[in-house]
């Protein structure tokens, strides 16, 4: 039976990306403190990616990780010193691998850019720059050893696998068949370690082999067969009978005919010890500058289903709750079978229990979508490291509350704005070393990233101890841009908040570093789109804090129920500014017969829900009802409604999946009485109404 491996691709990619994240994290830690355990973790991550990619025939990834692993192995056994250059190289490799995996995930061809890095690795490993053409998959050592080993030879192999080898999917039988493909193979099995039948663990390997192989192939080709198990076995190769002189130019002199893997590792590093390591590293480093940074491509919409990893405890809670639900249901069922009026009390308490269970179940299901924000935070230390080097600033990044959970969808969308704000803090917030020292601060700036829950929201604070924002400069700029009139007294917070207005270039105001592409207005818009807000507080000379407030989930909304004629709509509570009875206000009409409400000098267009959605109504006078002033994307509209009803949390059902997307509506929900209520999308509604007004105006003209 053929197994379709492609079904496992997504899992492989997911795990590999996680592995790369781990590698990145550990490399950054390694920079601060050399710990063997870090190296081991990095090695394990690389090893898993290598194994997986080979299984799925992503040979380029496998080839690259193999070379990477060789270097890591040297770091692990202490024969390679861990320098900043090596960490740089490894970080670049992580980027490169990420790029390769993204391409594979999107079904694209992997470019050969990685070969350049492979060449540097080989150069570093051999310590000789003229080994450039060596792009072998098993690194430089085997190549060097096999240079003179062509011609028909007999080899004696000793292969002693670790007991767990079978459990890792590595099958000696398959390797021996591959060896048979190279030439005549005579296997001799050693069964002395096989325990009694009773003690035998059927999944362990107790066998070892002596193999004789006649082949014209090189030692490298033979070793390649054992490539994937070289860490999981003791393997030695010995050439029989033939002239040994040429076997291993770089081989151990004590045992000219034999070169075990362990020896190979030492041999590999030998030239390194002779040539000044620093010089090699330096040369390598210089070249690295030219390597194009593998950009992580923007996540494409692929037809794969997104998946989520859920802690087993969360699933267990769900199962418990469903169990409770079943018990309550059977209790109620029994009550229904023999019901009489004396059991009303029991019925009521049963229903109450049912309600509690349902609510708990809903909360638990929602919790399944919750992931720790650490997933987003973890990509920032790397950025801070790179950027602070680029800006020649000294910056410490402190992360707090990375275990705070939020909805997966929210998290996916908060990544970019958050990155932007941290960049902003590094770029414009924290001052240069000189300026800091002149201001009597320590030369190292601090950027703190903190997440915590508050009510139904998650709060993310990005705080720097930099120069702060000067409200006078902002105000001057705002006057220049015509955003405020000169001489008007505007509160300080409002002035500072202006750096997030569209068209307000912070770069020109706060510092002279510019050219960052997206502005702060985009950050604000993205956060608003998620139903969140962003506040800024800043103290000149002490620092700035950006506070992002986000809803925990996009699936539940705090809604205000409103009535227009006989229809009930939901307005997101966060978007409501105020509501005013129509009887108490003055309506004005402007061009196109559009009614507007004048409030503190600004004209707010009035959108009549009944007109907008063509609901028949028997409203008698214009003064009946009230208006709710709502805000979205910095635009206000006044929604004309008949009555404000209660506030409640509503579960959002997508319109697209049940009907089709409609401008002005973000979804629907089902009310307590079973009626469907539409949820207004304020931004869409305001666009829709202005389009309609334009149309009307054109018709009139």
């Amino acid at each position: 039976m053929e197994i379709d491996l492609s079904q496992f691709h997504e899992v492989f990619f997911e795990e590999s990306f996680e592995g790369l994240d781990v590698m990145e994290q550990e490399l950054l830690d390694l920079e601060e403190d050399t710990d063997l355990e870090n190296v081991n973790t990095i090695f394990r991550a690389a090893h898993s990616i290598k194994g997986g990619s080979a299984t799925f025939n992503f040979n380029q990834v496998a080839e690259f990780t193999h070379v990477l692993e060789t270097l890591l192995d040297e770091m692990r056994d202490g024969s390679r010193q861990i320098t900043r250059e090596i960490i740089d190289l490894l970080l670049k490799s992580v980027d490169c691998l990420r790029g390769m995996l993204h391409k594979l995930q999107d079904g694209e061809e992997v470019s050969n850019d990685y070969q350049e890095l492979v060449a540097y690795f080989n150069e570093l490993l051999t310590g000789s720059p003229d080994n450039k053409n060596n792009e072998s998959s098993s690194g430089a050592v085997a190549e060097g050893q096999t240079a003179a080993t062509l011609g028909s030879n007999s080899w004696k192999l000793s292969f002693e696998p670790e007991s767990y080898i079978l459990q890792t999917g590595n099958e000696p039988l398959r390797m021996f068949k591959e060896l048979t493909g190279l030439g005549g193979l005579r296997p001799m099995v050693d069964v002395s370690k096989v325990p009694s039948f009773e003690d035998l663990d059927p999944e362990n390997c107790y066998l070892s082999w002596q193999l004789e192989l006649d082949t014209e192939e090189s030692e490298h080709a033979i070793r390649e067969v054992f490539e994937w198990v070289e860490d999981d076995c003791k393997l030695s190769l010995q050439k029989l009978g033939a002239e040994n002189a040429g076997v291993s130019q770089s081989s151990n002199e004590v045992e000219p005919a034999s070169s075990t893997v362990e020896q190979a590792a030492k041999v590999e590093s030998a030239p390194q010890a002779i040539s000044p390591e620093a010089a090699v590293d330096k040369a390598t480093d210089k070249k690295l500058v030219a390597i194009p940074k593998a950009k992580t491509p923007p996540p494409k919409k692929s037809n794969t289903t997104a998946s989520i990893r859920v802690g087993i405890d969360k699933v267990d809670t769900l199962i418990d709750l469903v169990g409770e639900l079943v018990i309550t249901q059977s209790m109620l069922g029994e009550l229904g079978d023999n019901f009489d009026m004396t059991k009303v009390e029991q019925l009521i308490s049963g229903l109450r229990e049912l309600e509690a269970n349902t609510r708990e179940l809903q909360e638990s299901v929602m919790r399944i979508r919750m992931l720790p924000i650490g997933f987003v935070f973890n990509r920032l230390p790397r950025m801070v490291r790179d950027l602070s080097a680029q800006l020649s600033k000294k910056i410490d990044l402190i992360i707090k509350g990375e275990d705070t959970e939020l909805d997966k969808t929210v998290m996916e969308q908060i990544g970019d704005p958050l990155t932007h704000l941290v960049r902003n803090a590094l770029d414009h917030g924290v001052e240069s070393v000189e300026k800091r020292l002149a201001a009597g601060k320590s030369e190292t700036g601090t950027v703190t990233l903190e997440a915590y829950h508050q009510g139904g929201n998650i709060i993310i604070e990005i705080k720097d101890d930099g120069a702060g924002i000067d409200p006078d400069i902002i105000k001057a700029k705002a006057v220049e841009k015509g955003l405020i009139s000169e001489g008007v007294d505007v509160p300080r917070e409002q002035i500072i908040g202006m750096i997030m207005e569209p068209g307000f270039s912070t770069a020109a105001v706060v510092s002279d570093v510019s050219g960052r592409g997206v502005g702060m207005d985009v950050v604000k818009r993205n956060i608003n789109n998620l139903g969140g807000t962003v506040d800024i507080s800043s103290e000149l000379g002490k620092g700035t804090t950006f506070t992002i407030r986000l809803p925990l989930t996009l699936a539940i909304l705090d809604g205000q129920l409103v009535r227009a004629a006989d229809q009930i709509y939901v307005i997101p509570l966060a978007s409501i500014v105020e509501s005013i009875p129509l009887s108490g206000i003055q309506l004005t009409r402007i061009a196109g017969d559009m009614p507007v409400y004048k409030n503190d000098g600004e004209y707010i267009p009035i959108v009549d829900l009944c007109e907008e959605f063509e609901i028949e109504t028997e409203r008698q006078t214009v003064n009946e009802g009230l208006i709710a002033i709502v805000e979205g994307e910095n635009r206000k509209i006044a929604v004309k409604i008949d009555e404000l009803l209660g506030q409640q949390q509503v579960v959002i059902k997508s319109l697209e999946s049940h009907y089709k997307s409609l401008q002005g509506l973000s979804g629907a929900t089902i009310l307590g009485d079973g009626r469907v209520s539409l949820i207004l999308d304020i931004v869409g509604l305001s666009r829709r109404s202005s389009e309609r007004a334009n149309k009307l105006r054109n018709e009139v003209a």
């Binding site: 296997p187 009694s196 039948f197 035998l200």
Partner: protein, 91 residues
């Protein structure tokens, strides 16, 4: 009553089935002095499977019982030869 008992090795004598097969072999060993391994359907055999049979054969001999093969397939024989276990298994 016959003194033989049979154990079918199924289509796959491999690591996936090794634990289950071990139990069946164990109970067969407790039943009769002569165990016949029905191996005419074995399509796939691997190290774990063959190693298990080897250990079983040792056990059978230790208990002075008898083990025989019934129609081993080419695949089974080839695999045991590749691993150098052909003779050890008495195939």
């Amino acid at each position: 009553m016959s003194d033989k008992t049979t154990v079918s090795l199924g289509t796959a004598l491999d690591i996936m089935h090794a634990a289950g097969l071990k139990e069946r072999l164990q109970s067969a060993l407790a039943k009769k002095p002569h165990i016949v391994l029905i191996s005419d359907k074995v399509e796939r055999a691997d190290t774990a499977g063959l190693q298990l049979i080897y250990a079983f054969k040792q056990e059978v001999e230790k208990q002075n019982k008898q083990l025989s093969w019934q129609k081993p397939t080419n695949g089974l024989i080839e695999a045991s030869k590749s691993l150098g276990l052909y003779e050890h298994l008495g195939l």
